[in-house]
Structures are given as C-alpha cells and as structure tokens.
Amino acid sequence: MSGDAGTVILDVDRLEKHYGGVHAVDGVSFTVERGSITGLIGPNGAGKSTALAVIGGYVSPTAGRIHFDGADITGYPMHARARVGLVRTFQMARVFGNLTTIENLLVAVPRQRGESAAGILAGKWFWRGEERQLVERARALLDTFGMSTKADDPARTLSGGQKRAVEIMRALMMKPKLLLLDEPMAGLSPSLSRQLEDMLIRLAGDGLSLLLVEHELDTVDRLCGKVVVMAQGRVLSEGRMAELRLSREVQDAYVIG
C-alpha cells in the first residue's frame, strides 16, 4: 500500500460537458492522489457538480478523458465504474426506501454470489457463506455510525442525516478506491457534520481517496490537502486552502460569482 502513496488515482484530462451552447464543464484537468482528500470548490454554477457527475459516469462527457487507477474509464457506464472502485454519492441522499437500513448496505456490494446466474440456479447453499460475512460487515459499519437500532427499519423512515449516513455506509460496503462525495455535509447538523468529517479523515488515513464537492470553505480547510477551484466551467486555481484564500483571483470568483 505504502508504495502507492503519492501516486495518482484519478486523472481528469481536458474534460468538457456541453449542454447545447452552455459549456458547463469547459476543459477541466486535475488529478487526485491516492489516500488524499481533494476538494472541488467554486461559486454556484461553476460546474463542480457536473464535473463530478461526468467523473462518476452519470452523464457522458462531450470531450476529454478520464483515467482511473491506470485504466481509461471514459466510456464506462456508472455501474462499471462502481465495480472498479470509483463510487459516488448523491447531493440528495438516495436510499432504497422499501429496503431496510441493513439491506441498503448489503445490496450495495457488487458481484455477489447470490446475484449471479449460478447463485440463482444453485440456491441458498451457494451464497449463504458470503451473505453471512456481508451481514457482519454491515453490522460493524452500522455500529460505527451508531445506527444499529435502525438496522431493520425501512430506509424511507430515516431522517435526512441518517439517509446520508446510509449512503456513505453503502459506498463503504463497496470497498471503493475513490469516493466521490457531492456536498456530503449538506443538510447535516453541525455536530453530525463534524462526526462525518472525522470519519472521512479516518478513511483517508486507511488509504481511501476522496474527492468532494463542498460549499462550506471551513470544512474544506479542515479536510482537504489539495483544493481545485472551478469557475465558469474551468479550473481557476489549485493549491492548499490557506494559500487559495489569499488569492485575488479566487476571492473575485467568489464575490462576483
């Protein structure tokens, strides 16, 4: 693992996304290093969320390439990206409402034996062992997030913060290499969002790479090593938050929008 530290896990190269005449993303290039927390910031309409959606495979780019973990994944559909370890969460937490909380976690694991043709043909004995391991992992995660008591509740009955927690736990069940987070703190209480921050820092310490879009600059300051500033579809600046705060260009972008 340590040999990988400092190497690039995500390489975004001259990415463009046009909607008709609107260039929502207009030639964006940046990299994310393994085990780092990289922030993507910028004023409203800068194209951050669109860039994240393109990287996650939710929308296809007009031009540009995306390399992840050594492979060109530009043409991969979303589910294929998830399977190679590039996992995204959504701005509005999306849970599987009729499944229970723990089922939301279990279902997220790709390529389960019980989902395969062999598993369907052979029946329970074929996947029972794997299922038991997954349940244990899910229980442990629920414990960590303090949500064990909600395990068997339908996910639709959870609060907004709990739904976001479910989404993050679901992403973690997939053992991602890079996690894309679109405003993970949105709608969370201050104490919850501090808890989530601590959690993300721990995850990065364990070797997970994170790329997050965030509005709250203090959060970005606390979390992110490198920060990419976007404005009007382009990368305006790149560096540490403390340096960027002093940058005239960045200040203007935020004030003028």
């Binding site: 589910h79 999306r94 009729n98 089922e103 279902v107 989902e115 029946g123 339908p154 997939m174």
Partner: protein, 322 residues
Amino acid sequence: MAWEYYLVVMLVYLGTDLLAVWGLNLEFGVSGVANLAYIVVVAAGAYTFAICTLGPSSGNGGFQTYIGGFTLPFPLALLAGALAGAVVGTLIGVTGLKRLRQDYQAVAMLVVSLMVATVVSADTGFLNGSAGLALIPNPFADLDPEVARWAYVAVVAFCCLIGFLVLRRFTTGPIGRTLRAMRDDDTAASAAGKNVIGLRLVVQAVGGAFGGLSGALLAGFIGGWSPSAWVYIETLAFLSCVIVGGMGSDRGVSLGTLIIAVLLLQGVQFLPQISSSPGLSEDFGWIILGASTIIFIWFRPQGVLPERRPRYLGKSSSHSPG
C-alpha cells in the same frame, strides 16, 4: 356434472392467472418495470403452443392459415410457449434500454401492445388474423372427458408448483434484494454497481416465460386463441391483481389473483342478466376492478398483504439472519 366442470374451469383459470401475475409481479412489483405489454407475452405463448400442436396449416381442410405448424408432444409445446414468452418479453424489454422515466416506458410498452395486436389481427397469413386459431388439440383427448379435465388441472398445478419454486429464486435472497433496490431507485442502483439494463432484460425474459407458459396452458385448455383473448386491458387485470394483492409480495399477489381475477371477474357472471343490456355484468366487473385498483393506490398502496422484508435481528446478535 356441471358444477364439477365449472370447478375445473375455475382452477385452470386460477392456475394460469397465477403464473401470469407472478411473472408481472416479478417485472413490475419487484423490479419496477411497468410492462403494460405483458399480455403480449401471454399471447406469444398461446400462439406458439397452438402452432406447435396444430400440425401443418393445410390440416382440418385448410380453413385457417398460420406460419409453421408442428405436432410436438404436449410438454415440449408448453416449453416452446414459455420460451416464446421469454423471447418476446426480452424484445419488449428492449424498449426500456434507453434510460426512460418509468411512466414514459409504460406508455411505450402500451403502444407496443396495441401495435402487435393490430398487426396480428390484420395479417391473416401469420396467425389467422382476427379469427384466431381454433381446434388446438387437447393433450388428453384420448382419455375419458372427466379424467382428461382433472388431468389438465394436475398439469396446471404442477406448472404452478415449478413456477413458484423458480419465482422464489428471483424474488428472495440477494438477487431479490438487488431487483427491489433497482425498483426503488435505479440511478442509485447503478451507482452501487448494478447493471440495471442487464437486470431488466433478465427480468423481462423470466417474467415473459411465466406469461408464455400461462398462455400456452390456457390455449391448450380452451382449444382456441384469438386477438380478443389478449386485448391490452387484460394486462390491466393482471396489474390490478398485483396492486390490490400487494406489489412485490409473492403471497400478496397470489391472493390478489384469487380476489380479482377469479372471485371478481368470474363472480360477476352470476349477476342476473338484464336482457336489454347484454354484457352489462361483465362491464360491471371491469368497473369494480378499476375502482378498487384506484382505491388501493390511494388508501393502501402496499396492498392487502404488503411486501415483507427479512430481519437481521438486533445489533448484539452475531448469528445469521433468521
């Protein structure tokens, strides 16, 4: 005896309706594919069964024309019907390949249903047009009629038993969970690494096989099959069984089939006929069906027997789920 014959008819209807509703529930209730062309897979099964058992179309004095024309043994003809349902179901599923919103997709499928019915009715050389196919041989024609009837009931019961075991392989366990996740939010499901398009096609094939088998069994029992047997509204009857019974719940939709397809739609035959308005009692059945479906969607969307989720017990327990 008349009542015994009636009982046989009801049991065959119940069995074939169950197979079809299970298939539609797998597609719609479990996986969220609102297949409003479902009756087309039933028809595909019925026609396939017919042309696999009728022999060459020059037979019977050549009074009906159709493609193919074979004399396969009964079990093979049933399998062919199920297979035809799977193929046609997959083809219908192709309309869903594009990322369409579920309601648009439902409309697209409804249009498919209407188009297929129009083509089959108009093309007399294909499946004998609007007159349909008749004289489909009964597999137990050599037996005493009373024994033959119950033998058919036994075949239907056997198919239902096998069908239910197959169905449970898809609606329970990890795959059932994955399909339900896709139903609840297909975008989040693909973000979780699920190949939504692939899963939908598989579900359409399996659900199609159920519908095809249902149609094949029905055609073999009635001895005939024509476009009037599979107008698009028949899909709505199955859909109503799913909604009233409990979307996504195998036992719920089974109960729904008994209530809607058998007790309601067959029960109205017992209403006194009004000579000035023939067919009124049947229309009355459809009115009740539509009204009860709407009432359920409004006041009890989860149905009579709602979908139940497995429990994984409390946090302290380290044992496997019960």
